[in-house]
Symmetry: C2
Subunit: 230 residues, 2 copies
DNA sequence: ACCTTGTACGGTACAGCGTACGGTACGCTT
DNA sequence: AAGCGTACCGTACGCTGTACCGTACAAGGT
């Protein structure tokens, strides 16, 4: 009855990770338990531990798996378009796997795909003439924006908009918060458009700021030319 | 033996929340269990549920408790200095309670202190002549930056720098990632300074961008004057 | 064809989690 | 002094991750 026995070579580490990713996407991060994963894979819980040392390393590997989906910058374009595209890809990625951001925070023993993705961004900047210091500031600013934006979106998603039933239930009276109320009205009018355009606007501002870093943190050994920054 | 019985009026909701905050600060978010909290308070676990409906609402209340620590903007200054100060305060706050950011993501039924804090920021912008739309974009950009920056800092903290033992253990060879290596070298040279200045630089860039929003999203009913934006 | 052996998977069990349910004794009101 | 509401306690259930050990299959040597 139930399972006589799994057919010996049903499992691989890749299949375990695939199952974990699918389960997290389908039912959320809380539903990703070893037992549920095993059930999805048609296997008993402890079988998983022959391919993954612990749930912690499974989650670390899952983060890296997500980064592996991130397309690398296209070498043809200028740095500005390359970074803009990567930022949009990252935002899409975090939207596609809404649970990923919460993993990024705590868990962060970067895996190979994570390092490749970071290396690629820094490489775009350095090849375009930005100094090490300018690149570091640029990277920090850009990713802060992208992550922060994704965080805000997920907060709005789980919380609902500020005048949602969740807040009324909590006894909030929006009349005490007129500024929030008028802002909420703006978003309820056309959420998708306003939010998407807000991302592009913020992104543009961030890229403008990054362009300015080239002059503020010049490479001591290799002056930046106009052609570099373009 | 053990506890004969706790002295009847030892507990209040405030004491529960104080204990939870102290426990999270001391031992981290994972250590914040109902049982551990009860032990800290000298009480049996189930006693806590007379003041808090569930652990979920306890965590929601904890987030609001953190926001209550955030100083409100000082009305005397200009909008730029007020927002800069609030951003620094927020960064300090998230550094003081390193666990808070991970709660912000998932859990977000905003409490009263959270709403007050958000209202105050929007009010600064609106009083300085920014339109509703400009204020919304400004708020989104500013908080995205602050949260994103805090997220990066906590990632670096838990991960260690890219050439830490944790990564070497994972079999990473930094020689395959020269851009990351040179950036890591920059940070290992003088972490605190570089990182703190990176925050100020990013913050300045973000505030510059926000200043530009006044022109790009003018208030249709109330044109912005030079004195407003200052 | 048989036997041996390494290993991929299974069973059982334990400690710790959140919390439902019901019991008990304290301190206030009368 | 009596009674009562409520603040705290005991017990227990279903869930989690995972340690430890058992088992049966696939492959290789003979």
């Amino acid at each position: 009855m139930s399972s006589p026995r799994a057919a010996r070579n049903t499992l691989t580490r890749d299949r375990v990770m695939d199952g974990a990713l699918a389960l997290a996407d389908r039912d959320g991060l809380d539903a990703l338990t070893i037992r549920a994963l095993a059930a999805d894979l048609g296997v008993k819980p402890m079988a998983i531990y022959h391919y993954v040392a612990s749930k912690d390393v499974l989650l670390d590997a899952l983060v890296d798996r997500v980064f592996a989906e991130l397309p690398l910058p296209q070498p043809g374009d200028g740095w500005r378009e390359q970074l803009a595209e990567r930022s949009r890809s990252m935002r899409d990625l975090l939207a596609r796997h809404r649970w990923a951001l919460s993993l990024l925070e705590t868990r962060s023993h970067p895996g190979p795909s994570t390092l490749v993705a970071h290396e690629a961004v820094l490489d775009v900047l350095r090849r375009s003439g930005f100094s090490v210091e300018a690149s570091a500031h640029a990277f920090a600013l850009l990713d802060a924006f992208v992550y922060g934006y994704a965080l805000q979106e997920s907060m709005l998603e789980t919380a609902g908009l500020p005048d949602s039933p969740a807040d009324l239930r909590a006894g909030m009276d929006l009349r005490a918060f007129p500024r929030i109320a008028e802002t909420a009205a703006l978003y309820t009018a056309s959420t998708d458009y306003v939010f998407a355009s807000s991302f592009e606007i913020g992104l543009g501002a961030v890229l403008d700021a990054i362009a300015g870093f080239a002059d503020r943190f010049p490479d001591p050994s290799r002056p930046v030319t106009e052609a570099d920054v373009r």
